[in-house]
Symmetry: C2
Subunit: 372 residues, 2 copies
Amino acid sequence: MAAIIAALSIPFATQAQRRGGPQVKSPEVADGKVTFRILAPKAEAVKLSAGDIPGVGQGKEMTKNSEGVWEVTMDVAPGYYRYNFNVDDVPVIDPRNPSTSESNNNTWSLVGVPGAKWMDTQEVPHGAVAAITYYSSALKKFRRMHVYTPPGYQEGKGKYPVFYLLHGAGDCDDSWTSVGRAGFILDNLIAEGKAKPMVIVMPAGHTGQMMFGGPRSTRDEFAEDFTQDVMPYIESHYRVKADRKDRAIAGLSMGGAQTLNIGIPHLDEFAYIGVYSSGVFGIIPRANGPAQQGPTFEEQHKDVLDNAKLKKGLKLFWFGTGKDDFLLETSKATVAMFKKHGFDVQFHESEGGHTWINWHDYLHEFAPQLFQ
Amino acid sequence: MAAIIAALSIPFATQAQRRGGPQVKSPEVADGKVTFRILAPKAEAVKLSAGDIPGVGQGKEMTKNSEGVWEVTMDVAPGYYRYNFNVDDVPVIDPRNPSTSESNNNTWSLVGVPGAKWMDTQEVPHGAVAAITYYSSALKKFRRMHVYTPPGYQEGKGKYPVFYLLHGAGDCDDSWTSVGRAGFILDNLIAEGKAKPMVIVMPAGHTGQMMFGGPRSTRDEFAEDFTQDVMPYIESHYRVKADRKDRAIAGLSMGGAQTLNIGIPHLDEFAYIGVYSSGVFGIIPRANGPAQQGPTFEEQHKDVLDNAKLKKGLKLFWFGTGKDDFLLETSKATVAMFKKHGFDVQFHESEGGHTWINWHDYLHEFAPQLFQ
């Protein structure tokens, strides 16, 4: 059997293995350090790119050994990070790492440094994260979303509260699951009794290939898809409780703005709202941008903002933004605007910037406050 | 809002966009042709690699335009294919294509050419494909599997038959879902009334990083994980019927051999067995390999092979292998061996070779015969 398997393996061996080239292990995680490696003998310059790993910045130089393997070792705090290589200006995911994280326009390699137990894979009951294809009647095309069902759901008993969790502009519906670790964060919180078992719905926030750069629709396509297709699909296909007190919505960056664009006009449907590293886009006039056109968010939603009865049913209105986040002032101005209208807003100003390091933390802080 | 989103997009723009480089679209699918492109101005040679696209062979040369974009256009039959680029000997997934397919050691880009309706995304009810993390008590580590639940399952009613579907040596537990299209093939068959709604379990066939090349265990680690952990997990966490007539198992290549290694000694548990592009490994003595050691498969399983009662409950024993498959003789010898022992074996010799083109077909042919 071993000999046959060895023979069978030849068609599936990596290119380097077929050529008898060096065996390359990447990423190698040990003692809080990560070594990244890539075989590229002909390349002139190779850098590590990784938005969220502190110290990488615009790219960390790698050095080449005599076999043509480029390498860099970094101290990396426990967490889950996207990265890729820049090989002579070509973005290259790690050819030795099958673990990836999809974003809006491309796919990244994914590395985990264990040690942050609350988001590590632990020996606790695990939920299931499913990819769902549905036809959007609003957008007239197929769309995908990811849905986390908690431990026990698949057995078929009971109804669960539902949490809609939106991604950012650089992301897609896979991102909260892969780099975001949402499923594992919830598995751990539920196992500790800190969060209620819930269904988490992670829809696709971009509605077209040309989100940026192409002609913009005047429709709020995402809000239409969300209210006409995503929510009705979930409420008809999943065992979720379909009332305000059992519905939450939150999002990061672009998804935080979408959360407010959906959550405020439909405040009668959501009892929990979270805004991570975001706020009302355009709330701060930009010196170098065109003037805001049309009515402001505050003007558009005046009736809701001043409706005391609607506010009463909002059990949590939570903002989290990092001190170094380029949207910090937007968050603060948004919080101030809601407070002016009498909302009981919680604002958590954290360390750090506009990164998944904070979004992991915010989810971990927000989820236990839901449906209690 | 548009201006703010445009500003927000800057941190998330692709490298070429930030630099004002050429906009590259890849892959571009139109009229049965696919154009693959990659921006690599400094590269000396770029090839398209794609195991299953006829005509690519060991790599299809691409040509560079004045902007540094390499390109090749090919006629590609409707279907779903993995590919990547070889850029100066570095394997590179398509930086412009977020769609990927994970394999054992790396990740591929994925392209779909619509037109084979039976595996395209159609406007029919869709099931859900979930990634599940479980702790393997047999292997003392965390493992992942994918589970397809048919339309209606998530609503919580009824029990379903279960089909265990195993991948090949070059693959992982994601492969039947991504490049394999298993969920979409079943969605379409179920919508047409041709296949029974069923749960499909796609476990991870490799049990260690060093499946090939490293020291081999004498244990059948996969069979232990499968029987001690995968099946009990599914039968305790999912609403599946836990009896022989509602259980099927099939696999491709390495997964076909695993199917026989599990299905024959546990023939009392499976009523349907499928072997795609495979057979009993080692059934044909190899001129250039070491002699078979220990008892043969036939000797090991003599009691089962000659047990008429067990055979009677086997409702389908199906083999499919292509005329150009390097395992064709292995398949034929395996079929002959089972026939010799009185098994009612169906052998489908198809066109083609050891490719996903055939594995799509075999699943599409096999699944409607289950649980009828």
